[in-house]
Every structure is written in structure tokens, then in C-alpha cells.
Amino acid sequence: MKPKISLNSRNLPTLVTLGLFVLMFGVGSISFSGFLAPQNFLNLFIDNSYLLILGVGMTFVIISGGIDLSVGSMLAFSTMLSSSLLEKSHWNPMLVIPVVLLSGVALGLLMGYIIQIFELPPFIITLAGLYLARGLCYVISIDTIGITNQFWQDAAHAQVVLIGGAFISPSVVIALVVVMAGMFVSRSTKFGRTVYAIGGNEQSAILMGLPVARTKILIYVFSGFCSALAGIVFTFYTLSGYALNGANMEMDAIATVVIGGTLLTGGVGSVLGTVFGVMVYGTIQVLIVFQGTLNSWWTRIAIGFLVFLFCLMQRLFESRKGARGRKRVPPASAAAAS
């Protein structure tokens, strides 16, 4: 039961992002031969499946008005834990996967609990989580751990062939399941709507009798789970664990969420928007590869420019909505301003 597509301020940012993606893909198709191939489009998902998973978790965090800086390190820790359990301890893969996912849940729970119970800013607590998880990687090993486990090898090389010979990887299937789940939860469950309410006005959410504390903790648990899952998917991609994996990837996740139309101030955004954000991000990379002469770091410049542009656009939306809503300064930002 999808809502009617109408041009209102709620889904406009998502449509803008979709439009941008179509435009960029169109420009690529005209400029470079071979760009407009089904496989090239599907590669966007294959190459960015882990980012897609991180993005879904991050979308919930940001909609609630929070931030999670730990996801990149958590992903790295997840790659280290899986590779070490598989290669050094020789655990069964069917045991490794739940253990790794649980580790992500546990770290997320810890951060969410501290943020909620001690009323500390998510920025600082997840920054601490960033260092903690990164440090734990080096506790496991300083070196790269290659993965030779058969199950992992199969997962890495398996192809899900679609009509017309194009294919996707199992990672993409996992990522799409997470996306679907994220869309369902955000739109059709009490938990999902409470996330939006908290992002809109936490004080009001409490006064309306919503389970704010529980929901806020669960948001970080979910993000932790997504990071761990993204780590496993990442090892399907690289077949190794390395402590430096996913450096700065939390920033990529935040950037794709913002490009996807989610407001950093919370309350507004969508999982679908984040999917388009990741696709825009992926397309920029592919465009630069096809262009051939530009250094891959130009991706960063393009992303930086886009984030800047989208934030500016959101501000314009906000101010157009009129001054009436702005009269009430939420307590948090009032405190920050003084």
C-alpha cells in the first residue's frame, strides 16, 4: 500500500535525488559508450551493497535527530572478527555470522544506552565507539587476515543471474532485504513512526506518551546491527579482514543519507531516499572511472559539493515553510546556541 506520489515537501527531496541520479546516469550514457548497460547499473548495487546497509541504519539514526560516527570502525571490527574466527579459530560460518551480528548489536546497545540514560550527545558517544571499535580491530590483528573459508568464497563468487544475462551478487540480495525491511519499519510500524516523532520534537514525543527511551536505544542497536552486517558483506567483497577497512566510511554513510534528502536536524527523511543517495554516490565513482583521466579522489570533491548543495536546498525548503513553525525553538538547540 504505497502512498500516493504527490509533489509535497515530504517527498520532494527524494524525487530531487532520483532526478539527479537519472540525470547523471543519462549524461554518462550519452558521453561514454557502454555506460548504459544493465550490468553497469547493477554494478552500482554490487559495489555499494555494504554502503547501502550502513545507510539504512544511519537513516534511522539521523531521522531521530542523532548521529552515529562509529559505523565505519564497526564495519572494520566486523571484518576482523569474522576473518579471525573463520581463519584462526576455524569456527563454522553458520556460527560466525550470528556471533558477529551480535557483537554489532552489543556495541550499538552500549552506545544507545549511554546516550539515553546519561543524556549524552550521540556525537561524542559514537565518536568514542569509533575509537573503541577501531582499537579492538588492532587487538585482533595488525595484519590483513585473508579468508579462504569455502562458504565465504562461494558467497563472494556466486552470481544471481537475472533475465538478459545480467547478474547481482548475494550481497545485493542481503542489502535489498535490509532496504525493504527498513522501508517497512519506517513507514508501517510503531517503532518507525516513533523515530520520526523523536526527530520532530523529542519533548512532545515524551508528552504524547511514546516509548522514547526504548526507541532511542533501539535505533543505535539497529545501526550497530547494520554495521556488523555491512562488515560481513564487505568481507564477501574483499575476502579479507583488515583493521584499516572502512576508514571514513561513516562519513560516506552520512553523506549518502543527506543526499537522499534526510534532514540532519531530524524528523524528515526516508530509506528510499538513502537508496537513491547511494546510487548517486556510486554513479559519481563510475563516471570518474569512465572518464579515465581524473583521479578517484575527485569522487570526494563531487560528494562534498553535493552534500553542500543538498543542505542548502533543505534550508531553502525550511525557510519557505514560513516563520510560524520556527517561533518555537526546540530546547536542545536553544541550549546549544547559548
Partner: protein, 508 residues
């Protein structure tokens, strides 16, 4: 009425806070199908009483009955479950969610484990229809006016089994047509049998909508009246705790006052405002202030006194009208520009908007002067000390040392520090919002004496106080405000307490 059992009855409620008796022996009765106004000045105990009723506070003594049976809600949620709901002045909803969601969030209709949006929107539209409102319930709440948001807040509590609806200053940010719309809804709910408790500062609205009035003063129960049988003047008198007959004798033709008025008439105008106003804050007003003049602003709480001061000092930005300082038009867009034009302002909220408790007395005094000079022209420590010591001496601030933290001072001395802060900037106009609030009687007199001394030296002062006696004692002229409108200016013989009250009660 007396034959019926009240829905809510509160008997001899006492509530203490450390050092304050917020409520003492307050009785309150609320009946089915009535709109009951709770009236009182600042600190009368209205909000404490409501908070006891809604489970935010627990009473220290007294009992509460709900339909004749004892009740003791210990949280707002528990009170809601008993059918007592509150809609606050600041709408507590989520502006980013749809109208329907704001009504149903937390109790959404579900189908197969997922939220049934279609049913939710349909039911939201039905509830709003009951309130005679038709809006697109799928649009986000921020796309509607505050009035509609209020209705949505009411609709949210209607969905549960509400018996009592408490409206805490619901009209303070609404315009006239919006108020009319809200009143229509209130009357409809009343006719359906809802008991409505209405808290407002607007006298006219009280008479428009309420059936009965309960008056509190200083945490004490003054009385319960039928609105139709309580003349407006009497209501004001009771809120202020005066007997009507007292008014006649408070006339005080002070010689000094007359002399000052005469002196003022041939000295120059230092400040004048022409049709200055801000939509939703205060209606356009004219104002002029002479050199050495003390203009008192009198009115009940919420009448627009502070709003007027905030406009003049640029804290709020006027959307119409002009301000002239010494005959020259000035654009006052911020407190800084007001300062540069020669204005000073002491806020009514001394603790939060005035004194920096952790800073020393010297630092507190020097602050405004430093701000006026700019950060790059730093005042030497020695110079700062000189200024501070001089001020401490001149104003009689009781402290052993200017290095002491401001928090160690009494309220009256903190107020003097604030005065000193502005005097160092050598203003030509000083706006004082409730400078005598919360300080003891002796300090009050001292502050007022200081104000008079300053005005004798040529300073133009705008003086705001809820105590009419203080306004009368200090002012050469008095501007009277009611319901966010400046309704009159009193001078000379008309400057009496009864004169002010009659002006306020006068109606339109």
C-alpha cells in the same frame, strides 16, 4: 449547580516548594458541561493547581475527588487515563508528522501488524469533523496555522475517553478569527458535556467564554463566582487582592510628580515610537518619552508590557512602525543597535536574561560597556575596577569586594548590578522590566529611589511593574495596556490606582 456532583473536586489543597507556599487551602470545583476560568496574577498558583490536578505534582495536603471518588494521579499519563487531559500553550505535537499521525501516534489502528494508514486518515478526518474542522489530514502539521495545531492537540485528547479538558493559555498566539474558531469548538464540547478548565490572561475572553470563574491570589483561594454576576472591575480588584472601596483613597497627588511633569514638558523628547507593532505580539502603539520622564507601563500579566519593551530594545523585530531617538529615526534591529542608539534594558527575568551568576560583580557591571565598545577595544583591568567600584558606591551595592561572584548577592543587589551595567554605557533611555520583582520591600524602595534620582539627572526611564502602587510612585505618566493593546495614557490627576483599574476594566 450545587446539587450536582462535580467531575473534579479539590479540597483544601496545600502545596509547598522549598521556601514557598505555592498553594494553601485551595478549593476548586469543576462541573460537567461548563467552561471554568481560572484567574490570578503571576505567582497566584494557577499552574501549580493544574499540575496537582494532572499528576505532575503531588499535593502536600488536601484531597481530590473525581466524580465523588478519591483520585490520586501520580503521573500525567495516569491523569490522562482518568480522563483528565491538558492542552498546553505551546502545542506539544510533532510538526514534522501528518495531522492524522499527530492525532493517532502511539495508538495507531493496525491491520496485519502494520499501521493501517487509510483507516487512520479516515478516523482522523472524522474526529476533526466533530470539531467542525476540515483539513487535509495527510499533510504535515507545520503546514497549518497554530490555531489548527491547537485543534489537532484537542482532537488527540478527544479520541481517548476525555471527561475534563484543561486549556492552558490556548489563545496566547492566536489572532481574533482563530480565537473565535477555537471558542466555537470549546462551546461545542461544553454542550456535549465536557468539563473545560480555561486558563487565560485575556479578560475579554474570560467573559466571552466562561460560565464560572475561580480566582486565586498568592496561592490562596479568593472565591468562586458566576461570570455573569462578577463585574470586570471587581474581578480585577480580587485578582490584585484589593477591596473596591480602597481605590478611592489611593489617589496620591505627589508634588514632585507634578513638577517633573512640568519639567518634562519643556525638555526634549528622547524617545518616540510611531505605530510600532508586531503581529501576534503587540498591536501598533505610539509612545513618547521626554528627558527626565518616567513612563510607567501598567497592565495585568500578559497585557503586552514586556512585549512593548522587547520591541523598543530590538529583541523582537517590529514589523511595522518607526522609532525615533532624540528626533532622529533609528533602525533598531537588534539589542546591539538599540544600545548604540542610547537605550538600555533590564529584563524581567533577572536570573536567566540578566545576571551571570558565575561571573564576578565587576565582570557583570562591565559587560554592556565592553559590548558597546567592541571586543577589540579592551578595557584595562584597572579601569574596569575603577568603574565597578564607583558604581558599587553610587548605587549602594552591598558587597565586600567587586571580585565576588554575582550569585552571592541578594536579589535587590543583583538588580542594582544590572542597573549599574546599563548606567556604565551612559544611556539616554533606560527600560526596566519588573526591576522590583522578587526582592524585599526595603530593596524595592531603594531601587525606586534610584530610578527617581536617575530621572532627575535627565535619564528617560520606562518602568514596568505588576504592582500598580510602584508604577504610580515612580511614574510621571502611565501607559495602560490590556490584551496586547495600548489603550490609554494617564497623566496628572487621573494617575490613581482606581484610574488604572477602571481603564483596564473599561472594555472597548
Amino acid at each position: 449547580m450545587s446539587g450536582m456532583t462535580p467531575i473534579v473536586e479539590m479540597k483544601k489543597i496545600n502545596k509547598f516548594f522549598p521556601g514557598v507556599k505555592a498553594l494553601s487551602g485551595v478549593d476548586f470545583r469543576l462541573f460537567e458541561g461548563e467552561v471554568h476560568a481560572l484567574m490570578g496574577q503571576n505567582g497566584a498558583g494557577k499552574s501549580t493547581l493544574v499540575k496537582v490536578m494532572t499528576g505532575v505534582y503531588k499535593q502536600d495536603a488536601g484531597e481530590m475527588l473525581l466524580e465523588g471518588r478519591p483520585m490520586r494521579p501520580d503521573t500525567p499519563l495516569a491523569a490522562q487515563k482518568l480522563g483528565i487531559n491538558t492542552v498546553y500553550q505551546e502545542v506539544n505535537l510533532c510538526l514534522n508528522l501528518s495531522v492524522a499521525e499527530n492525532i493517532f501516534i502511539g495508538k495507531e489502528p493496525k491491520k496485519l501488524g502494520r499501521i493501517d494508514w487509510k483507516l487512520m486518515n479516515q478516523r482522523a478526518a472524522e474526529v476533526l469533523k466533530r470539531l467542525n474542522i476540515s483539513v487535509d489530514v495527510t499533510r504535515i502539521l507545520s503546514s497549518y496555522s497554530v490555531a489548527v495545531q491547537q485543534m489537532v492537540a484537542i482532537a488527540r485528547v478527544l479520541d481517548t475517553s476525555a471527561k475534563v479538558l484543561i486549556l492552558d493559555e490556548p489563545t496566547s498566539s492566536l489572532d481574533e478569527t482563530e480565537v473565535a474558531q477555537l471558542f466555537k469548538v470549546i462551546r461545542k464540547l461544553r454542550d456535549e458535556g465536557m468539563a473545560i478548565l480555561f486558563i487565560t490572561h485575556f479578560l475579554d475572553q474570560t467573559y466571552q467564554i466562561s460560565d464560572r470563574i475561580t480566582i486565586l491570589k498568592n496561592g490562596e483561594f479568593i472565591g468562586e463566582y458566576e461570570t455573569g454576576k462578577l463585574p470586570k472591575l471587581e474581578l480585577i480588584a480580587k485578582m490584585l487582592g484589593k477591596e473596591l472601596s480602597e481605590f478611592a483613597y489611593t489617589t496620591n497627588p505627589d508634588e514632585r510628580k507634578k513638577a517633573a511633569a512640568e519639567a518634562a514638558s519643556d525638555s526634549g523628547t528622547v524617545l518616540s515610537a510611531k505605530a510600532l507593532g508586531l503581529q501576534g505580539s503587540i498591536a501598533p502603539f505610539d509612545l513618547s518619552l521626554m528627558e527626565g520622564d518616567v513612563l510607567g507601563l501598567a497592565g495585568l500579566l500578559g497585557s503586552g508590557r514586556t512585549e512593548m519593551a522587547r520591541l523598543l530594545f530590538g529583541i523582537d523585530y517590529a514589523d511595522q512602525g518607526e522609532i525615533f531617538v532624540k528626533g532622529k529615526r533609528v533602525a533598531i534591529s537588534s539589542p546591539k543597535s538599540a544600545m548604540m542608539a542610547g537605550l538600555g534594558f533590564c529584563s524581567e527575568d533577572r536570573k536567566n536574561e540578566g545576571i551571570f551568576a558565575e561571573l564576578s560583580i565587576r565582570e557583570n557591571i562591565i559587560l554592556a560597556l565592553q559590548a558597546k565598545k567592541g571586543v577589540f577595544r579592551y578595557l584595562a583591568a584597572k579601569k574596569q575596577l575603577e568603574i565597578a567600584d564607583e558604581m558599587i558606591r553610587a548605587l549602594g551595592i552591598k558587597t565586600p569586594n567587586s571580585r565576588n561572584e554575582a550569585r552571592q548577592l541578594s536579589g535587590g543587589n543583583q538588580q542594582k548590578v544590572l542597573l549599574a551595567r546599563w548606567l556604565t554605557t551612559e544611556p539616554i533611555i533606560l527600560i526596566l522590566d519588573e526591576p522590583t520583582r522578587g526582592i524585599d520591600v526595603g530593596a524595592k524602595l531603594e531601587i525606586m529611589e534610584l530610578i527617581l534620582n536617575l530621572s532627575r539627572k535627565g535619564l528617560g526611564v520606562i518602568f514596568i511593574s505588576s504592582e500598580f502602587e510602584e508604577v504610580l510612585r515612580c511614574s510621571t505618566r502611565i501607559a495602560v495596556l490590556r490584551d496586547k493593546v495600548k489603550i490609554a495614557e494617564l497623566a496628572g490627576e487621573n494617575m490613581t490606582e482606581s484610574g488604572i483599574m477602571r481603564t483596564i476594566a473599561g472594555g472597548k
